[in-house]
């Protein structure tokens, strides 16, 4: 048992589970405080998400919706964890996601591009934003968190301005892609059949999963991954070993930005959501990516599951009983849970301490037993 718990992989998993349970518990307590009557039902609905529906078909369809939204979150969390492995905290992923959204929507609606060029354009937009952060970091030593946050806002208002040109006249939302330019919608490739013809299930799903695996391979098996991680872990040693540490920082943020930008296209090109040109806050996807990255133990494969879970909880929030609670409560509950997800490292540390302590106790017991035996 102890041996199993010492395995870092198992530890990460257990820590993540503990975080989830704690988050749900605190969410439940918050509900209890506001109104005890509906608390139990609401928290169960949050956990159940699409399972609250009775009909199997509806369940499947709603499951598909959650899955469709998981993919952009997964991409954002890959973006965060990739940079994090190289010692950079890319909080700018949120802005890179915005840049990607803006790029793919404008290309689809204004220029009538097909889905593939739109996707690549979104990827490029995210990469350019990442490159700016990386350049500032390596050349002028500007902290990537500061420049990242600034760029988040710049890109939000830039996106609002640009996308106003392709918005509906009557509403603040961008036009429907399916009306203006259906060729920009991501192909379903028959995958929608498995989800009760959910049109939002597209090639984005397998693509994001493949990219997660690719990121895993890049980080752990390749020369580039070796160099990037070395740079992140010890910049001075990387320089001493003749690695181009400044180039590596820029490259990392370009890749990180590209992942976030591509992620945006995986949501907006399904037609699931439209951009609201009057929104005044940066979409939470990039920030939730941080929680997903940590909850997944900073492992690309783990991120697949953690991203799904977080999206699952977020979607589950809409099933909170609004007779008892205001509609914002769903956001509150999911954010409490997501917040707790960031505690994975802390839980891991506590676990290690506990293991060490119990081992010490054991060693002492053995020693005293041995000395007693010696006395006889």
């Amino acid at each position: 048992m102890k041996k199993v718990l010492k395995n870092p992989g198992v530890q990460a998993f257990v820590a993540s589970i503990i975080c989830i349970i704690l988050g749900l518990l605190i969410g439940y307590i918050v509900l209890l405080f506001i109104n005890p009557e509906g608390a139990a039902e609401s928290i169960i609905n949050v956990i159940k998400n699409f399972l609250t529906w009775n009909r199997a078909n509806k369940k499947l369809q709603q499951f598909g919706n959650t899955l469709a939204k998981t993919m952009p979150l997964l991409m954002c969390s890959l973006s965060i964890l990739f940079a994090y492995k190289v010692g950079l905290f890319n909080i700018g992923a949120a802005g890179q996601y915005v840049a990607g959204s803006c790029a793919c929507l404008y290309a689809a609606l204004a220029w009538g591009w097909g889905w593939l060029p739109c996707m690549i354009f979104a990827l490029a937009a995210g990469a350019v934003l990442g490159a700016i952060v990386g350049f500032l970091k390596s050349r002028c030593n500007v902290n990537e968190v500061i420049s990242g946050i600034m760029l988040n806002w710049i890109s939000l208002y830039l996106a609002n301005t640009i996308l106003t040109k392709v918005k509906e006249t009557a509403s603040p939302y961008t036009m429907y892609i399916k009306d203006v330019n259906p060729s920009a919608l991501l192909p379903n490739a028959g995958l929608d059949k498995f989800f009760n013809n959910n049109q939002y299930i597209t090639i984005a799903v397998p693509l994001a999963l493949i990219i997660a695996i690719a990121v895993y391979i890049l980080l752990s098996k390749t020369k580039l991954g070796y160099e990037l991680k070395a740079t992140g872990s010890n910049k001075n040693a990387a320089k001493y070993a003749g690695m181009a540490e400044n180039r590596n920082i820029i490259l990392t943020l370009i890749i990180s930005g590209a992942l976030a930008g591509l992620g945006a296209s995986m949501l907006y090109l399904t037609g699931y959501m439209r951009w609201e040109c009057t929104q005044s806050s940066v979409p939470g996807m990039g920030f939730n990516g941080i929680a997903a990255a940590f909850l997944g133990g900073l492992n690309p494969i783990g991120a697949i599951f953690s991203s799904f879970f977080i999206q699952h909880i977020t979607d589950g929030g809409q099933y909170v009983n609004t007779n008892f609670y205001s509609s914002q409560i769903s956001d509150l509950i999911s954010s409490v849970i997501i917040y707790l997800c960031g505690f994975v490292l802390f839980i891991k540390l506590t676990m290690n301490k506990m293991i060490a302590r119990s081992e010490e106790k054991k060693a002492r017991a053995i020693k005293s037993a041995a000395s007693q035996g010696g006395d006889k």
Binding site: T222, K223, S233, N234, N236, Y240, A241, M243, A363
Partner: protein, 511 residues
């Protein structure tokens, strides 16, 4: 019964996987100088951390003046009159000496500083123990020796009775060391009890009354220095007899391998250049040592040479090829190996495994990376295992051990294995034995001599006098960024070397 100032009885402290202190007993008499001797990783630091309340022991008790005490944190230790001069001083650079001494215990009336009072007390202490300081000088402007005296005054100002000195001589000149030894004797004569942590045996013999030896977390014994010899102490410390003298045959210098002309490197701390117009040559088959007190431009000189810092001016030639503007990677490929001064800052990626660190300079070779950019794990593992075997690098889990989890000596061995196995033309070794125990030092010196005998050029930068006298074939003394003297280690004395290092003597040296 004998009166002890502090007793640590049967202290056991475990960390996951290791026992750092295993049933250690240390008794410090009133008014004695007690040396604590042990290799790196022997458990000296852990034991002192226990005494300071930074760690709680699993077993054992601490007594002060015969009464059992519980030390839960450093404040408790302070309240009991236990003070420490750390190896790396804990001083605020831009504060004056006086401000540093009173920091944390500032005398005040209703929140207003009473510096006059403090100054009087400090001056009285300084007079009494012969600790000369200028109370109004800023720390950044005074010598290392005076900084250390400031640290000692800090302890005395707090009325500490038990003074711990953690490797206090590492940063001092020979003259300053003599002075410190005298100060320690004065303090002991005034009734202070001193714990002196060191692995410099001749200093222990000179100044300490008794010496306790630790090895691999175990208590080996306590001896009166009067009744023992250096050889006996070192055998206790290492567990076997150690050959102090470096065995080497006469050198046969060949062609010039490294030729540096008028090299100047800027300083990062002040406006002056750290290295001024240095020219020197290193030939194949010889060890040239750059000696000097820490902070006289040696680090910057090596940074400039290796390419970690840009040159202001100068020309570097390796085997007749101008490498002044060559990249670090290219220099490495051309045959420069560099054992860096700071193994944690430059030498290792601590979070990487041992095997990944062993290929840090060569990972891009086709042997370790396929054409498609994938690492060849199997080859890396085989290569690492060979080096581990050949250089006797010890670690918990072999090639996959995280470098951070290895002892300092084995980390250094790993770096040396990596740099020497590259078969360099020029080996730059900067303080290769810093912080290591005699066993590891012996090994490293042998490796350097072996490289020399194999016809390689070796450039050694060292602060350790014994090393400077023993290992090289030529000594160049660096003082304030300039080469001020060239000495023959066979003909010179430590005293003469000290005069050059302190800047009291200089020749016009031609490279």
């Amino acid at each position: 019964m004998e009166q002890y100032a502090v007793e640590m009885l049967h202290i056991t402290k475990r960390f996951p996987g290791i026992i750092a202190n295993d049933d250690i007993t240390l008794q410090l008499k009133k008014g004695e100088i007690h040396a604590l001797l042990g290799e790196n990783g022997a458990g000296k630091s852990t034991l002192m951390s226990v005494l300071f309340g930074l760690y709680q022991p699993e077993e054992g008790i601490i007594k002060k003046d015969g009464v059992e005490v519980k030390i839960n944190n450093p404040n408790d230790a302070n309240a009991l009159g236990i003070g420490m001069v750390h190896q790396h001083f804990k001083l605020v650079e831009c504060f004056t000496v006086l401000d540093n001494i009173i920091m944390g215990v500032e005398p005040n009336k209703m929140g207003f500083l009473q510096k006059k009072e403090a100054r009087e007390k400090v001056m009285a202490l300084s007079e009494k123990y012969g600790l000369h300081v200028d109370p109004d000088a800023k720390i950044e402007d005074i010598t290392v020796g005076m900084q250390q005296r400031t640290e000692i005054l800090k302890m005395l100002y707090r009325d500490n009775e038990i003074l711990i000195f953690d490797e206090p001589t590492a940063v001092l000149t020979p003259q300053e060391i003599t002075e410190l030894m005298q100060i320690m004797k004065n303090l002991a004569a005034e009734g202070k009890s001193i714990l002196f942590i060191s692995h410099k045996l001749n200093e222990i013999m000179e100044v300490a009354d008794r010496c306790s030896v630790l090895r691999k977390g175990r208590y080996i014994g306590t001896v009166n220095t009067k009744d023992t010899t250096i050889e006996q102490l070192s055998a206790m410390m290492v567990g076997r007899n150690v050959n102090f003298h470096v065995e080497k045959k006469p050198a046969h210098p060949g062609d010039v391998v490294l030729d540096i002309e008028n090299m100047t490197v800027a300083s990062k701390v002040h406006k002056n250049n750290a290295v001024k117009n240095v020219s020197l040559k290193v030939r194949a088959g010889e060890i040239v040592c750059i000696a000097g007190i820490d902070g006289n431009g040696q680090s910057e000189f090596v940074y400039g040479l290796s390419g970690l810092e840009p040159l202001v001016s100068g020309k570097i030639t390796l085997l007749g090829k101008d490498i002044t503007k060559t990249s670090i990677r290219q220099k490495s490929i051309l045959g420069i190996s560099h054992i860096p001064e700071d193994r944690h800052k430059h030498g290792l990626v601590l979070d990487y495994s041992l095997e990944d660190n062993l290929v840090l300079q060569t990972y891009f070779n086709p042997e370790f990376t396929s054409g498609a950019g994938f690492l060849r794990r199997k080859n890396i593992r085989e290569y690492a295992n060979r080096l581990i075997e050949e250089y006797d690098v010890r670690s918990g889990q072999g090639a996959v051990t995280t470098a951070r989890a290895m002892s300092g000596g084995n980390q250094q061995k790993a770096i040396i294995a990596r740099e020497i196995d590259k078969a360099p033309e020029l080996l730059i070794a900067v303080q290769p034995t810093r912080g290591l125990d005699v066993g590891a030092i012996e090994f490293i010196h042998k490796q350097l001599v072996a490289q020399r005998d194999a016809g390689k050029a070796v450039l050694l930068v060292s602060l350790e006098l014994d090393e400077v006298m023993d290992v090289p074939d030529r000594i160049l003394v660096m003082y304030e960024g300039e080469i001020v003297g060239e000495l023959d280690p066979k003909k010179t004395t430590q005293e003469e070397l000290g005069l050059y290092m302190a800047g009291a003597k200089r020749d016009e040296v031609k490279a």
